[in-house]
């Protein structure tokens, strides 16, 4: 195939919940290119190349301490590869 490769999207689907609202705001703040898609019960955050979730931004939005492990409580699905998950951030992107 000779066509130009399209920019590959990565995305993460979150439960539409009270905690998720703050999370989504934080993700939007740290990923200015992100788009939101709402489905029944779900919010999808989609961005070209990568999505990053930063603990500090989430904590500011939630007004409390938040450890990145807690992201497991909200996530429903994702598309991409979890390139990094440590105390300070979660990075989802394609590797190659």
């Amino acid at each position: 195939m000779t066509s130009e490769p399209r920019t590959r999207q990565v995305s993460v689907d979150l439960q539409d919940s009270e905690d998720t609202r703050a999370l989504v705001e934080a993700i939007e703040e740290d990923n200015p290119d992100a788009d939101l898609l709402r489905m029944p019960g779900l919010v999808r955050v989609q961005a070209p190349k990568e999505v990053v979730i930063r603990r500090e931004t989430v904590e500011q939005r939630m007004g409390r301490e938040w450890e990145t492990h807690e992201f497991q409580m909200n996530i429903v699905s994702y598309s991409g590869h979890i390139a990094d998950w440590d105390d300070d951030q979660i990075v989802i992107k394609w590797e190659h």
Binding site: R6, R8, Q15, M39, G41, L42, V76, H81, W85, D86
Partner: protein, 506 residues
């Protein structure tokens, strides 16, 4: 004095990876005897990555929290007569399909990941398998607890374990999973963790859970999301395992490619049931099968994942082109089959309402009005004359996917496809090139398939008449099966929604 907290990385290293030891008086081959015969070469298990960096304490903490949230919702649902808030009793048919079709697979996965938690050589892989094993048991239990709320009021849900083992259409998911369980550990991981949990999972779970949400099924939506939060870990395991195998040795590449090809097609065929659930069983639609396929398979997997895997020499799955062609009609062909054979199922089927058919015309502009609307209108007219159409007799099944041979030639929706192979002097039939290709790779395995129709004819299913077989299935004739409009579910639903000043039980 408070000590500085260890970082996630250090905790994972100390509490998960560092608890392993080298055997000294047993050869590793004897300790882990099952990880060599498939031809996969692993040189360094320490290269295994777990991005979640799970430790037993954080795993337990979050799982407990998930369960508490879920059971609070289930209690509220039961106490508030939540089942009455559904869009329609017809919706419950998708739960009957799910409980009998999927829940037993969760339990089978629990058992098999328990086996992997013992038999994989690396501590990271073993611990990830152990967590998944516990997750799968949690899923089976929470699904049973949630759907048991409906069992008090609706038919078809009372004996899902037995039905899974016996009912004709449930042999589709059962034989799929049994195929994985009876493969070696690496093929199982490719089949279930990669192909099912990563490649296809969104096409299974998101439609069910969003469908539940949209149709007022709070309980199922909540267990679905609770399970799905584990599922993202399972997806990660699936992707990690495939990258790990590919990075360990170049000789692994062709073996994995074959498995990817096989398990894409196996899983995709099982999803025919999900496709028909989405388009036909949900009174309020979330999206069509075609849209879901485009979003989750074409966009996320073919455009997202496979360019990543190309780096390792993996190409998109064989026969994926046919799946793309079939997105225009698969759900219609499968549901038409279910409609005709609903007399032998644990759910009710019916002709779609006029408004639903209009929705389908829009969702499937190239096929619905031309091929399927006329079928449904004919079925409706027969039904109105009191002659609800059921297929008389038993269908021929595909030897691999076990779906009745109702799929058409790719791109030609009027011509039923039949493929055959000869093996040991016998002829075997398949619904597609994909299923035939799978058989021809391992005929010795698939000649052993337990095909429901063959089993009925051989007298292994309680007898050779329909009432005898239904009895053996655990299906109560006239209660659990057949037409929806004349079913007890429909009668009860109408009664419960008739305004009345007198309270009381069901």
């Amino acid at each position: 004095m408070a000590k500085a907290k260890l970082s996630m990385r250090d905790r994972y290293r100390l509490l998960t990876r560092d608890l392993d030891w080298e055997p000294t008086y047993v050869e590793p081959e004897k300790l882990y005897p099952h990880t060599r015969y498939e031809g996969i070469k692993i040189h360094d298990w320490d290269k295994w990555e777990d991005p979640f960096r799970l430790t037993v304490d954080s795993y337990s903490k979050y799982q407990a929290e998930k369960d508490k949230k879920l059971y609070a919702v289930i209690d509220g649902f039961a106490q508030g007569q939540g089942h009455l808030s559904l869009t329609d009793a017809r919706y419950v048919n998708s739960l009957k399909l799910f409980l009998a079709g999927v829940t037993p697979l969760e339990y089978a996965a629990h058992r098999h990941f328990g086996y992997l938690a013992r038999h994989l050589d690396g501590p990271g892989a073993r611990f990830a398998s152990l967590c998944q094993s516990i997750d799968e048991l949690r899923h089976a239990q929470t699904e049973i607890h949630t759907i048991s709320q409906y069992n008090k009021y609706y038919g078809g849900l009372h004996d899902f374990g037995k039905m899974h083992d016996r009912v004709w259409y449930l042999s589709v998911p059962k034989s799929f999973f049994d195929d994985g369980l009876s493969a070696g550990p690496f093929e199982f991981l490719t089949a279930i963790s990669f192909s099912f949990e990563y490649l296809l999972t969104n096409l299974l779970f998101v439609p069910f859970m969003s469908g539940a949400s949209f149709n007022g099924d709070l309980a199922t939506m909540t267990f679905g999301f609770s399970a799905q939060s584990d599922e993202s870990r399972h997806m990660t395991l699936g992707l990690e395992v495939i990258k790990f195998m590919l990075e360990q040795d170049e000789d692994n590449v062709p073996i994995i490619q074959d498995w990817v090809d096989k398990w894409f097609w196996r899983g995709y065929r099982v999803l025919g049931l999900v496709a028909s659930m989405m388009d036909y069983m949900l009174p309020k639609k979330i999206m069509s099968w075609k849209e879901a396929f485009e979003l989750y398979l074409e966009q996320q997997m073919l455009e997202g994942l496979f360019p990543d895997l190309e780096f390792y020499g993996i190409r998109p799955p064989r026969h994926v082109e046919q799946a793309i062609t079939e997105k225009e009609y698969m759900s219609h062909q499968v549901y038409w089959t279910l409609y005709q054979f609903a007399f032998a199922a644990n759910f009710n089927a019916t002709v779609p309402e006029p408004a639903e058919m209009d929705w389908m015309s829009q969702a499937y502009p190239d096929t619905f009005d031309r091929y399927y609307r006329p079928l449904w209108e004919r079925a409706r007219s027969l039904q109105e004359q009191g002659k609800r159409f059921f297929f008389q007799g038993l269908p021929m099944l595909c030897q691999i996917c076990q779906i009745p041979m109702a799929f058409t030639e790719p791109g030609d929706p009027t011509n039923i496809a039949v493929r055959t192979s000869q093996f040991r002097g016998e002829r075997f039939n398949f619904c597609s090139d994909g299923c035939k290709w799978i058989f021809d790779r391992e005929p010795e395995k698939y000649v052993q398939a337990w095909l429901p129709v063959h089993q009925i004819y051989q007298g292994n299913c309680g007898g050779t008449t329909i009432p005898e077989v239904l009895d053996w299935y655990g299906i109560q004739d006239g209660v659990d099966n057949g037409e929806y409009l004349t079913s007890p579910d429909k009668t009860n639903w109408d009664k419960w929604h008739t305004p009345s000043v007198v309270g009381g039980g069901a």
